[in-house]
Subunit: 161 residues, 2 copies
Amino acid sequence: MPSDTLGFESHDHSSCVVAALETAERQCKESKAQLTPVRRRVLEILLESHAAMGAYDVLARLDAEGLGSKPPVAYRALGFLVDQGFVHRIERLNAFIACTHPGASHDPAFMICRECGLVAEAQAANLALQQAAADSGFLLEQTVIEAEGLCPACQTTGATA
Amino acid sequence: MPSDTLGFESHDHSSCVVAALETAERQCKESKAQLTPVRRRVLEILLESHAAMGAYDVLARLDAEGLGSKPPVAYRALGFLVDQGFVHRIERLNAFIACTHPGASHDPAFMICRECGLVAEAQAANLALQQAAADSGFLLEQTVIEAEGLCPACQTTGATA
DNA sequence: TTGACCTTGTGATGTTATAACATACACAAT
DNA sequence: ATTGTGTATGTTATAACATCACAAGGTCAA
């Protein structure tokens, strides 16, 4: 089966960015959420690459652009975007990444390249985990699935490094 | 199929602790790793409950017992125990928990009760993720699988809280 | 007894995240 | 116009998590 991973393959990134922004705008209009300048700019910054950025890296960008200099500014915008599903938090990295499946149902899994930092998002519900939860009576509300390894490019260039 | 989750069921905790310590001692002997007093004590502290503890909580215990007061003491011991596979790090909580499957092959998944903090460890390899990785050429080295929700006890007591 | 290696002690610092309180702005009800 | 309400932002301070760098002790074998 073909994967729906927006993975490590090259792609038309500018259209990918535009699509994500349009989706965000539409969804905010529908849900009467406000995609304010700071929030929109943070989403744009994260969309620039398919790598995860720390909150303070985002903040540095905002600061350089005169949009805010204190941690809560970045954390609030990121929190909003995560709540809306436009951005995901990568627990493993304490960092954030723009969602590459705008609008899709969300129980995302991530593949993180430890060499170049690129992160691919896949849909990969964990059936075994759901089974284990059902078996033990655990009410499963949210799952974090994050894999670390080497992307195709870094496997060939860096050898084992 | 019966789950091999050491889950939220009640169990003979003291024998569970003893077994884990014995396994750790045996494995250290085999691999010539040193289970020093600090390291052993940290493992014991984590074994006291099936909840995750922050590094600084562990450190506070060490300090109270005269075993060390500076962060690196705790982080070094925890790092050692994680390397040996006796302890797992829970990324979602920035915290640590004793392994409940001593000696077992390790690609653990966790179910975290957001109410009481209890954490159950299950073996739940994510086949869909492995498939997605294979599809996109990603070399999967390590996976983080952490679910958050409500344990059986907290579902009944707290209602929806 | 020297050197290599591992472990621990400690001060300083770096990184990530939130609490708490004040201000501003939009919009509706009076 | 003014007051109330809700949402978003600005700012200070601090909490919480983690590592660096360097000194000192212990063990063991050459």
